[in-house]
Symmetry: C2
Subunit: 459 residues, 2 copies
């Protein structure tokens, strides 16, 4: 978080009183930064070329990896090396991963100097969404036997390299085992003659190199930390993850969950960037799965075909009733899945969820049922539509709504928990399950209530 | 991010070789930190009391404000002052806002020392989700005429106060106008005799005190910054926002959006914590709104009652067809709303969205239509269910699915854009609109296709 890349403040309009040049540059860069998302690539690159070298670098370093590579590849080939070497190893690895093909990937790697390429290659070996894929291998390090004044001098030298941060300094033994951590500030405040060993904290929160990024993000938010060391199985430090990368992780995980809630596969790319064919495949696949599930509604309806033929009035309320079940189910599953993703809810809470949802389902079902009952009775008074047994029809709708809403909330809240229990991702599996289950069950509930109440009159 | 509160590393299992005491403490604290979410409040408080003072403070400082206040209020009244004064002003303000009533709020404020209370009161004046509500008023500051060596000495003194960070230092004139920023690291690397004015950067990204937190979060991610100063309308600095608070903002905004997608009001509280009545009100309100909208389906169905009476077979496919429209609509609106929230998409992209969704809708509609057609034809071959005109029924379903899915994707993607255009929040307004619109329109499409294809045979 504190190399020129991420830590460098970007300009804005105010406070550029020193020189008119600085002021107009600040204006150009600030307005380009803000306008960036609204421009086409041709406009972006044209504007990029008008910036001073410094400003262009500032802008480049602040861009996400998928924009960085577009800018980089638009530069003349002989200038690409300088741009590539601006990047910290973790950012360089992200950029290389955006390369269109293997050949281009190798060409970009070849632009780095030898130690840089080794670092980037080491990072590329990690899965992108593991702690190892997020970390930066350049962190500030000290030996435990150093004196505080020596340590500060030594850090001053390290500060000239492109370290991710000098504000947390990790104390290592000769085999790179993590012994402790000291903040630069603590070091700064300590007496010069003390040993690092005496100043450092030995209780260090760390993550494992293959820990997934969602769980790394949770460690950050739980402990309120700004940097966490990444260790291998033998407790040797491999790098550090800083909180600025975690913001991106949190955004990205939320986007994936939201897309799964929306009943599709996570796109893993911005809407306007994903190729049309890929998008249709990811959406169409789920849509077809949902459709196959929903076919059961046709089967269920066929089962009640005689009832519908005898009392067509029953068909009128089918969409209303199943959509109420679907809506209450999607509310409940959304709530529970999000609470699970945030770690607020787990299997241990099954009993409490069950009680809450049963209560909420009954309360909301009675409410909707009352509205539905009123709708039919009042409507029929104004303009007789539902035949002589309209009151029985109204009670059928009332009873069905109570049952359907209650079933919807229960199914919507319990299915995600059940799916996690048997090892599925609750977010991606729930939407089709809940929709199908609630629609089919809703029909069965509706026609069963109808059979019970209308037998001998309409049926 | 670098006061004892947020910056202090929390313990974990490894590296506590110095003393057996430290090791067992580390174990206790680490396991309590991890188990926290799984414990009841009685268990949490019991475990909390077993921790050493230092560990208890570490845990307390890492907790979210709503947990902090529970822990605080569980302490004997004479000890609460010490706990309260541990907190940085922004965290203290968050905690005070969680107080159950005004009287308790005043009591907690009275526990602070005078300058602390003034700071917290100033923060409480801001709306919770404005930049002002996120910021910490304690930041490191310098005068432009200082020499670098003087500045470092001066910062060493400031470092002992509870500053949010000493790693970015803000250079102010006498009226608190922001002149520039210098990272501690740059200061550290600069020649001792230079003036701060010569080292600082004058181009500073800043936010306004009443800017909303979502837009502040976007400034952070766009520019890759770790701290941003907050200015008033006259460009005087009021405080700084640091990236660790932004992680919480991003999580919270995603939760709100997800709950709105799920068709309810954002709960603004964890699922298990929100009072039952409040939850039912927030969910039931939307459910009733959706229900009122869906009543139009009953009206639409009544309009086609004669057709249904003549060809009951048509009723069988009603749930299948409207659910397909609903699913394709919810996919499209989820995608578009999330892309808008991330700033990837705006009104300017209307044309591209329209083309993409029209294409996707036709492609997916043809796919689902084909599956539906096959289902009817194959099913009928196996067990004649749909009468002599089953082939016409199959084509009716095929044609309706193409129309309904296409309409669903278009309505789902364009409505959020239209809603933003007329000033509504796309996330909260879209679900009911899309659902109702697509269901009612789906019925009209279905029965219109049926009328066209079946006139003279079934109808």
């Amino acid at each position: 978080m504190e190399q020129p890349a991420r830590g460098a403040p970007m300009p804005s309009l105010q406070h550029s009183r020193r020189s008119p040049l600085a002021s107009s540059e600040a204006l150009a860069l600030a307005s380009l930064g803000e306008a960036w998302l609204n421009l086409t690539w041709a406009e972006r690159l044209a504007a990029f070329r008008t910036l001073s070298r410094w400003d262009a670098e500032e802008l480049f370093l602040g861009l996400p990896a998928d924009d960085q590579i577009e800018v980089l590849l638009a530069q003349p080939e002989e200038e690409q090396r300088a741009w590539m070497r601006l990047l910290a190893p973790d950012d360089a690895a992200d950029l290389v991963q955006e390369a269109p093909d293997e050949q281009e990937k190798q060409r970009l790697l070849a632009l780095l100097d030898d130690p840089g390429r080794r670092e980037v290659n080491a990072l590329l070996a990690y899965a992108e969404d593991d702690a190892g894929g997020l970390m930066n291998p350049r962190y500030a390090r000290l030996r435990p036997e150093m004196r505080v004044d020596e340590a500060i001098r030594y850090l001053r030298k390290q500060a000239r390299e492109h370290l991710e941060t000098i504000y947390y300094v990790y104390v290592l033994d000769e085999q790179q085992h993590l012994l402790g951590v000291v903040s630069f500030r603590e070091l700064f405040a300590a007496p010069s003659k003390q040993l690092v060993r005496e100043v450092m904290r030995t209780q260090v929160v760390s993550v494992q190199e293959n820990q997934n990024q969602e769980s790394v993000a949770r460690v950050f938010t739980q402990h309120g930390l700004t940097a966490i060391p990444v260790l291998d199985v033998e407790n040797r430090i491999k790098g550090i993850v800083t909180i600025d990368d975690i913001v991106d992780v949190v955004q990205q995980e939320a986007t994936e969950d939201i897309q799964k809630f929306g009943g599709m596969e996570a796109l893993d790319a911005p809407y306007l960037k994903i190729p049309f064919g890929d998008m249709v495949k990811k959406r169409g696949g789920w849509l077809a799965a949902l459709f196959l599930g929903e076919m059961l509604t046709a089967t269920a309806m066929a089962y009640f075909e005689d009832e519908i033929a005898r009392a067509v009035v029953l068909a009128l309320f089918v969409p209303l009733i199943i959509s109420s079940g679907g809506n209450s189910g999607s509310q409940a599953s959304t709530l529970v899945i999000r609470a699970m993703a945030l770690g607020e809810l787990g299997m241990r809470d099954l009993g409490r969820v069950l009680r809450r949802e049963l209560g909420a389902g009954i309360a909301m079902g009675l409410g909707l049922g009352a509205i539905g009952w009123l709708r039919i009775v009042v409507w029929h008074q104004l303009r007789p539509t539902y035949g002589e047994h309209y009151l029985l029809v109204a009670f059928t709708v009332f009873g069905s709504l109570v049952g359907v809403v209650m079933f919807g909330t229960l199914a919507g809240s319990l299915l995600p928990l059940a799916l996690r229990r048997i090892g599925f991702d609750p977010a991606s599996a729930s939407a089709p399950f809940v929709a199908t289950l609630v629609d089919v069950t809703g029909l069965v509930i509706y026609f069963s209530v109808a059979s019970a109440l209308l037998r001998g009159t309409l049926l």
